[in-house]
């Protein structure tokens, strides 16, 4: 330890004139460096502090309920019994569904804009799609209540059940009251679409011309060029865009709360009301008075943070693996 520290010291000692002269000559440079270092350090420190604070507050609930906090479906503030399984399930399923719905659309938009759209059309469409990200969450919620839910209930739902005959499947069983997993997932899909599509678009536009020209020169059609030359090149970036959308979906609160029906119950049916972790915290924190209740909500917060972390790690790993394949 001391040896390596010594070695490092000698290292800097060997080339003091060069590095010292360039980096540390003026006071301004040193201050600049110091300030940026503080900024850079502040973010991880803040994150660690937040995580610590949440964990400390969540500890009483974890120690009281143990693993059953993650597996139990009973959320009873009157009797101080708390289990977060329905919320964990709801968060994961609504986000996954949203991703499933949003990704094809987002990629379609991105490919059209990058490959097919004439320049005069590209800007307006790109701008409109980006604008989706600027709409406040509560507005999505209201739109969901007044437009999306009636539409899903009176048009989409009968089509899925009667025309396609899907009511035999457990996913479409039961009565449809509109406030359910399906509505929440659709609204989430619309909300994450601009993130995924903006990233995918930029990445596709960044693919070098030579890549396309080479494919075309080999006699590939436009479709084959995009499929075999452009998309594989941009794959890791596109994955990054999807992950960005997923992160957004996991944490989205207001619009989901307004549409999901807020029911502490796991049901396979998409027509059944459900609950997400973020919605639960938003709903209950203000009026929670009992220590156990507050701690349980903090514990849900900790689980949500952990879930996001795990999802991000998996996503990073996917991106890393894909980009390594491309390089190979």
């Amino acid at each position: 330890m001391s040896e390596s520290a010594g070695a490092a010291a000698t290292d800097t000692g060997i080339a003091p004139l060069v590095s010292g002269d360039i980096e540390g000559k003026s006071l301004g440079d040193r201050i600049y460096r110091g300030v940026t270092t503080v900024f850079a350090a502040a973010v991880p420190i803040l994150l660690v502090l937040i995580a610590l604070e949440v964990l400390i507050a969540a500890w009483p609930a974890f120690s009281r309920f143990g693993l059953s906090f993650l597996t139990s479906s009973s959320w009873d503030p009157v009797r101080q019994q708390f289990g977060a399984a329905p919320m964990i399930y709801g968060t994961l399923v609504s986000s996954a569904l949203a991703l499933l719905i949003a990704t094809p659309f987002a990629l379609g938009v991105a490919i059209f804009l990058a490959e097919f759209a004439p320049p005069w059309l590209r800007q307006p469409i790109a701008f409109t799609v980006d604008l989706l990200a600027a709409v406040p969450s509560v507005v999505y919620g209201l739109w969901g209540i007044f437009v999306l839910i009636p539409f899903l209930r009176t048009t989409v739902s009968p089509f899925l059940r009667d025309t396609l005959g899907l009511s035999a499947l457990p996913f479409f069983a039961g009565a449809d009251y509109g406030y359910n997993m399906l509505s929440a997932s659709v609204i989430l899909a619309i909300m994450i679409l601009p993130y995924t599509s903006a990233v995918a678009r930029e990445v596709l536009l960044a693919v070098p011309r030579s890549q396309r020209e080479a494919a075309l020169a080999l006699g590939a059609t436009k479709w084959e060029t995009i499929r075999d030359a452009v998309i594989p090149y941009a794959r890791s970036g596109i994955m990054g865009g999807i992950i960005l959308g997923l992160g957004r979906a996991l944490g989205e609160t207001m619009a989901v709360t307004m549409l999901i029906g807020n029911r502490h119950e796991i049901s396979t049916s998409l027509y059944a009301p459900a609950y997400t972790m973020a919605s639960l915290i938003a709903n209950e924190f203000a009026e929670a008075t009992g220590d156990v209740h507050i701690s349980a909500l903090m514990a849900v917060g900790a689980v949500l943070m952990l879930t996001t972390l795990i999802v991000n790690v998996i996503a990073r790993w996917l991106v890393w693996r894909v980009s390594r394949e491309v390089r190979a």
Binding site: W75, P77, V78
Partner: protein, 348 residues
């Protein structure tokens, strides 16, 4: 000359007061329940214009109000549910007084096409609908209460509040009082484990979901239902009368409950299912919470003065905002109780 002097004096005076206003001088701060916020905001603004005492109130919810009072970060709290003994024992400033301010009520709203006259319901029937035991609108027990009404053969879809709220507390307090099955099951609280139904955030979401869904039934606070012309059920009270929720029938409930509120009462009482022929059964007080010991005598005096004004003139503003004023005898009793607040002393 004199007029000029007076004028300039007044100018100076008004400049002072604007300076005070712009510097954000606040005499008292409070936090708590959102349900009485409209009437509290009205009171504080009127009181400021009369007495020049500025009261700042954050409607963060009853739970938040209680927490802030316990931590002494506010001069008073406000809650739709009384504090438990446990919560009072955690208050850092000593004993807490519960001072009822106005009355609120919870009404049952529903969406039944073709039913034009108000639905009549009893406590046990409401409880069984919310327990999921009565699932159809043409159930015998509902039909028996509503002779001559053609009830549809549709599912009764329950809509409740998703977030913790005083409205839920009052409603579940009532259901616990009238239904042993409810008491043993979900119980009472600002948030309970609902056996069936959908959760909506806020009165507006519950009302919205009921409006949109044929066959839905939900509960909202009276003021919200009145302002939005929602259909409301008449509920059977202790004298077997079906009572329409109105300002008068709620004040009547408080008057009916007065007999149980002697001089020694701490006013942490539920008035659901109150006696009296005119009493609407799902009524409740909402409270301002203050420490009995007020170490800061100036602030304490301002608080007491405000409460005295509120129990006098203040109550007249209530009904215009769809809150039921306290019965006059109760206001006198509570004004007398303000003398229990000790100024300039710390908690023992």
């Amino acid at each position: 000359m004199l007029a000029l002097a007076a004028c300039s004096q007044r100018d100076a005076g008004s400049k002072d007061s604007t300076a005070a206003a712009s510097s954000g001088r606040v005499d008292l701060t409070g936090a708590g329940a959102t349900f009485p916020y409209p009437i509290y905001a009205k009171w504080f603004s009127v009181y400021d214009s009369i007495k020049g005492v500025k009261i700042n109130y954050q409607s963060v919810g009853s739970g938040g109000g209680i927490r802030q009072l316990q931590e002494q970060t506010v001069d008073f709290g406000a809650s739709d549910a009384p504090m438990s003994d446990d919560e009072i024992s955690k208050a850092k400033g000593g004993p807490v007084l519960h001072l009822p301010t106005v009355l609120g009520a919870v009404v049952i709203t529903y969406n039944l096409t073709g039913v034009t006259q108000p639905l009549r319901l009893t406590g046990p029937v409401i409880a069984d609908i919310f327990l999921g035991k009565i699932t159809k609108w043409n159930d015998q027990r509902i039909a028996a209460l509503n002779p001559g009404v053609k009830l549809p053969n549709t599912d009764a879809l329950v809509v409740h509040r998703s977030e913790g709220s005083g409205t839920t507390f009052i409603f579940t307090d009532y259901l616990s009082a009238v239904s042993p099955a409810w008491k043993a099951g979900p119980g009472k609280g600002k948030e309970v484990q609902w056996p069936v139904g959908l959760g909506g955030r806020g009165n507006e979401a519950v009302a919205g979901q009921v409006k949109q869904t044929p066959g839905a039934i939900g509960y909202v606070e009276l003021a919200y239902a009145r302002q939005n012309n929602l259909p409301t059920a008449h509920v059977k009270n202790t004298t077997d009368a079906f009572v329409n929720p109105t300002i008068e029938s709620i004040t009547a409930a408080a008057a009916g409950a007065m007999s149980g509120l002697g001089a020694g009462s701490d006013y942490r009482v539920s008035i659901v299912n109150a006696p009296g022929a005119q009493s609407y059964p799902i009524s409740s007080f909402t409270w301002i919470l203050v420490y009995q010991a007020q170490p800061d005598a100036t602030k304490g005096q301002k608080l007491v003065d405000f409460m005295k004004w509120m129990y006098g003139e203040g109550e007249d503003y209530a009904s215009a905002l769809d809150y039921a004023p306290l019965p006059i005898e109760l206001r006198q009793q509570l004004t007398a109780r303000l003398s229990e607040i000790r100024l300039g002393t710390a908690a023992q």
